[in-house]
Point group: C2
Chain length 399, copies 2
Amino acid sequence: MDHVGTTGPSRDLLPVTGAWQPGDPVGQRRFVDIAAHHPFAVESGAMLRRVDLAYETWGTLAPDASNAVLVCHAWTGDSHAAGRAGPGHGAPGWWDDLIGPGKAIDTERWFVVCANVLGGCQGSTGPASPHPDDGRPYGSRFPVVTIRDMVRAQVRLMDHLGVRRWHAVIGGSMGGMQVLEWAITFPERVASIVPIATCLQATAQQIAWGAIGRRAIRLDPRWRGGDYYDAPPGEGPWEGLAIARQVAQVTFRSDNSFTERFGRELAEVGEYGDTFDLWQRFEVERYLDYHGEKLVRRFDANSYLVIGKAMDLHDVARGRGSLEAAMRRIHVPSLSIGISSDMLYPAYQQQRIHELLTQQGVPSRYHEIHSPHGHDAFLINHDQIVEPIARFLDHVPLG
Amino acid sequence: MDHVGTTGPSRDLLPVTGAWQPGDPVGQRRFVDIAAHHPFAVESGAMLRRVDLAYETWGTLAPDASNAVLVCHAWTGDSHAAGRAGPGHGAPGWWDDLIGPGKAIDTERWFVVCANVLGGCQGSTGPASPHPDDGRPYGSRFPVVTIRDMVRAQVRLMDHLGVRRWHAVIGGSMGGMQVLEWAITFPERVASIVPIATCLQATAQQIAWGAIGRRAIRLDPRWRGGDYYDAPPGEGPWEGLAIARQVAQVTFRSDNSFTERFGRELAEVGEYGDTFDLWQRFEVERYLDYHGEKLVRRFDANSYLVIGKAMDLHDVARGRGSLEAAMRRIHVPSLSIGISSDMLYPAYQQQRIHELLTQQGVPSRYHEIHSPHGHDAFLINHDQIVEPIARFLDHVPLG
């Protein structure tokens, strides 16, 4: 029952945190301390004296600032929504197919902004960032934040950029949660919204998946209650974070796509040359290990906890009476996009957004991505959203 | 980020193993050492010199032994398919609604048998059992076993009982895997089959869920490579086993049933009286913790690993050329039962069993349980299977 070939020979070298850290290549990032003029209070009550937001922009802001589009990233995404891989950016932009000159979100026309969320680990202030009191990582001292906190931080970025009103706020999954909170909390600062594969409030099943992942991180003795940053390489909570990621990875895809791609193939022949070792891996396990390890190299376990909790706390109705009352604050055109095979944020949740808006007379459209790929289809089947998004942006009156 | 109210005050008292052990009340169990006359070789190559099977029976075997029905249990089930809770049995029989005088599987007519599987922990030989060499628990020394091994062990029990041919072999989930292997491996010893919420071969997604649970157990430092039996109470791998169970528990139910039952209710107010503590639980998390802890009290972590691996290895085609070739060995009537909301063993998998049998001219029927409860519906919506099963048993010619 020993660890036969579980994660490959590189295991001991896995970083303690995959967070971007001062001194790392900045790449396309710009930074602003949105708490420089007044501290930033989060919903949980904590006061942050310094809040860096790492953000990127593409295109040129029009003189009247009417052409700004905000793109919001998902759980483990970051500000690098478009552009190449290179120093500071381990991968090409996660929506590079959609954002650029002549693309759906045409940067010859739109000034596109994407910021790493508060609590994240790719340049924005999060648990791996230095605490202003002592310069050591926040770790267990970092507060719980909410989607609303993320959005309120982005409002200060918006002011910094001189944008009065976003022509559109667009995002999938947790990005879509931000989209909804933008339109509900700051209706006067948003001209249109595109929520994708997201929900009005996290369901019990979504919370369950998130909570199980957090328990796996907590179980890892190398998590050390959240204060692991001074551990040597390989001694961070890589294994708990990898398991948490694996839970998510299965919910991001679908039964059919897994069967199609992996079936019952074995990843390797066991130590004893047979198929009967407890830890011998099927190909799908190798895939899960790969994705777990890949995330460990570019993410921070505490950020994973904090952002996951923010998603569980997502509920546009909180403090607003009801879902209906919250949604009545939205008066701008909406394009809600669902995915036929999404098991994590099933299409009924995006249809519900569309229904509520339609009921109150808001111009709303629902578009469904037909895909076998599950939740991740919004990052895969770009061909199915290029045209609807481009057309939607065209038809929203310029603010 | 500390453990606020995660599993309640009883945590330190959780047993190192929930396995039944010699000296515990036997309850309704009977025992037979099926290796007493000749050792039992498992598919992985290991030779077991002693294999106790704990089993229970209900009703009376007819003089011609024509009325015997085998019921096969699922992953964490055991031999107590019917009967009350009491000493030796922590809960009433898991199918007590279906098995008994005048019930669907009428014990005034049928002689019903249910055995704890090989590798289990409720009286049958498994990782918590004493190794014949030294009397200490097998632990990491226990071999990988397969569904076929479980069935081959049951053949010896059958011989011991004097049954030549089962009138029917019935089971759900892993029980259904045994049902299929019974009919394919020993076609002459089975007169009919009722596979429920099961599959012909574990899919990549099913393997993924199982593997993630096993990784959580392995991550628990108290698992100690599988040799944890001499640890003091509270120092067994309860946390890893609980997480593994929680992964399974979500897949056993459904999005709708979780929303209906838990919604976004909070389980408790956090230490600071707010809803913003990282470890404050939603009601669904309390439910998951409850089910994790409940399993820890009645199950063994190594049995969970071994049985889970057996399910991942389940493939009726293995060594038989193809699914079709394997299924061509079945010549007896079949009632395949699926569940409309099953996300773990989706209904298409049971329809496929029915289709393959129908194609080769075997009398086969498909019945679907319409339920919001997901995979567990075969243990919940008894009302929907009582009549189909009773009628099916009636119409199979007595052997």
